[in-house]
């Protein structure tokens, strides 16, 4: 009787566990079988390298470039600010302040995209328009927005990477007469570099996949990016802008955009998992 109960339980738990694998497989199948045929029909090169996008011509190079440029911009802003903040939290911050900052970082991670987007639409867009000219809805606005949005990812992971460096490295450096700053930047941070790097990779993943916040501030013109103060369209926003009314090959082209995005994200995830596994060894 008990033996049977254990067996049933084991079966149920295994079944639940397989749900994740099954879901992933079905997701991959449905995205790729709906997107790939269109890409092949249309011509993979014409699709990936074409620079014109309208209802009949589907070249997504502008969106690929847009996604990459916006992500790089967000990383240039978010990564240094995030890492320095993580250093503050791990090494500079008294416990009485940390009690408030830690939940604040969690809150930042929990604020929905839509609120970030709305905030950027109301504050960053007008600021960009008034300061640099142009329409305001622009690449710069998207970059600033994403730079803020990737902060919590970078801060939490970098902070725990720095905290997991053995304390003896720090005392070793102090005992040689090195200052606190030198001990942190020349010993602790380099020792935590793989953890910090994986935080950057996750941040990149978050930036490239972000949709709803970006669509609110980026301008979204489906043309090659022409400058920081001009509009830009990313892979994610390409899908969300047109899916509501697309049909036929147009719809398949949007799914195919999803395929390209998916490949980017899988690459980034792969790098992340690789670092994580290497570190575990």
């Amino acid at each position: 009787m008990n033996d049977l109960k254990e067996k049933v339980a084991h079966g149920v738990f295994l079944l639940a566990a397989i749900t994740s694998i099954l879901s992933l497989v079905v997701i991959v199948i449905f995205i790729f079988t709906n997107g790939l045929p269109m890409m092949i029909d249309y011509g993979v090169f014409d699709f990936l390298l074409g620079t014109t996008w309208n209802r009949t011509t589907f070249g997504i190079l502008p969106m690929i470039v847009g996604s990459i440029v916006v992500t790089i911009g967000a990383v240039l802003i978010g990564v240094p600010v995030g890492i320095f903040t993580a250093i503050f939290m791990a090494e500079f911050c008294p416990p009485s302040v940390y009690r408030f900052l830690k939940p604040a970082v969690n809150l930042m991670a929990g604020i929905p995209s839509i609120l970030y987007g709305f905030f950027a639409l109301r504050i960053i867009v007008p600021w960009v328009r008034d300061t640099f000219g142009g329409p305001g809805n622009s690449m710069l606005a998207a970059i600033l927005l994403l730079g803020i949005m990737i902060l919590p990812t970078i801060i939490s992971l970098s902070e725990s990477a720095i905290r997991s460096v053995p304390r003896s490295y720090y005392s070793g450096s102090i005992a040689l007469g090195a200052s606190k700053e030198r001990s942190i930047f020349a010993v602790l941070v380099p020792a935590a570099k793989s953890g910090i790097f994986s935080s950057v990779v996750l941040g990149v993943g978050r930036a490239i996949g972000e949709t709803m916040a970006v669509v609110m501030v980026a301008g979204n013109q489906p043309i090659m990016p022409r400058g920081l103060t001009q509009g830009v369209r990313t892979l994610t926003t390409n899908i969300v802008m047109e899916m509501a009314y697309a049909s036929g090959q147009h719809r398949d082209a949007l799914v195919a955009t999803g395929v390209v995005l998916f490949v980017f994200v899988m690459l980034i995830n792969g790098i992340f998992l690789y670092i994580k596994n290497k570190e575990a060894k």
Binding site: Y169, S171, I174, G177, R182, A186
Partner: protein, 253 residues
């Protein structure tokens, strides 16, 4: 005994929060000698050695009263440059703690910290320090290897070399061989005996044979007090205090 001691400690007290770890310690440490601290676990010897280069500053809630003079200068005075103090008074830890960098960068870290930039000068310091720590021959062909990839005994000698590279005057060693095998231990003991020609060495040890083998003077700690300080030979053959006698004959601790 007319020469001034290298380090003079007067009535040093230390608290961890409410717990009093040192009760008024007085001690003179002479130049170019090895001074050993012995005593049972928790007697305050490790706590005390950390007060000599103010590593206890890193421990929150630790509070110090009293006086520690290095060459007649109070190291707890407000004017004291901490980084300079720690440059003069180097330290080797119980667990070997090389940085996760190459052997070369480990040794060069200290000199770089204190402003040495020229490659040729650094090369020279690295070689000299590694030779002094008697490990040059073992590592000279792979200075770019990660210091964490060599054996524990070698790591500890790298740490000694790293401490020597900043040209300290005093070298504090907190149970430097307790994590090592007997062969590595013997190498480090031999090294310490050579280093005392040029440096003043203070060493905490759990191992009484070690203290009797390599030290010139020994201080016996118990419950945060120094019970007795004397020539090592005297301490181990004919101590003045009964507690010392009991400890070295193995009756407690």
């Amino acid at each position: 005994m007319v020469t001034q001691p290298k380090i003079k400690v007067e009535d040093l007290k230390l608290w961890y929060g409410d717990f009093r770890a040192l009760h008024g310690v007085d001690l003179d440490i002479n130049e170019n000698e090895v001074t050993a601290f012995i005593g049972p676990s928790g007697c305050g010897k490790s706590t005390f050695i950390k007060t000599l280069n103010r590593m206890n500053d890193l421990i929150p809630y630790a509070r110090v009263e009293g006086k520690v003079e290095l060459d007649g200068q109070d190291i707890y005075s407000k004017k004291m440059d901490l980084n300079n103090l720690r440059k003069k008074v180097g330290m080797v830890f119980q667990q070997p703690n090389p940085f996760p960098k190459s052997i070369y960068d480990n040794i060069a870290y200290g000199p770089r910290t204190h402003g040495v930039k020229k490659k040729s000068e650094l090369d020279e310091i690295v070689e000299r320090s590694l030779r002094q720590a008697a490990i040059w021959d073992e590592v000279k062909d792979h200075l770019d290897r990660n210091a964490l990839s060599i054996s524990g005994g070698q790591q500890q000698r790298i740490c000694i070399a790293r401490a020597l590279a900043v040209e300290p005057e005093v070298l504090l060693m907190d149970e430097p061989t307790s994590a090592l095998d007997p062969i590595s231990t013997a190498k480090i003991e031999e090294l310490v005996s050579e280093l005392k020609q040029e440096y003043t060495i203070v060493m905490v040890t759990h191992n009484m044979q070690q203290a009797s083998r390599i030290s010139d003077r020994t201080a016996f700690f118990l419950n945060g007090h120094i019970i007795e300080t004397d020539q090592t030979r005297k301490i181990f053959t004919n101590p003045n205090q009964e507690e010392t006698e009991n400890y070295i004959s193995g009756r407690f601790g």
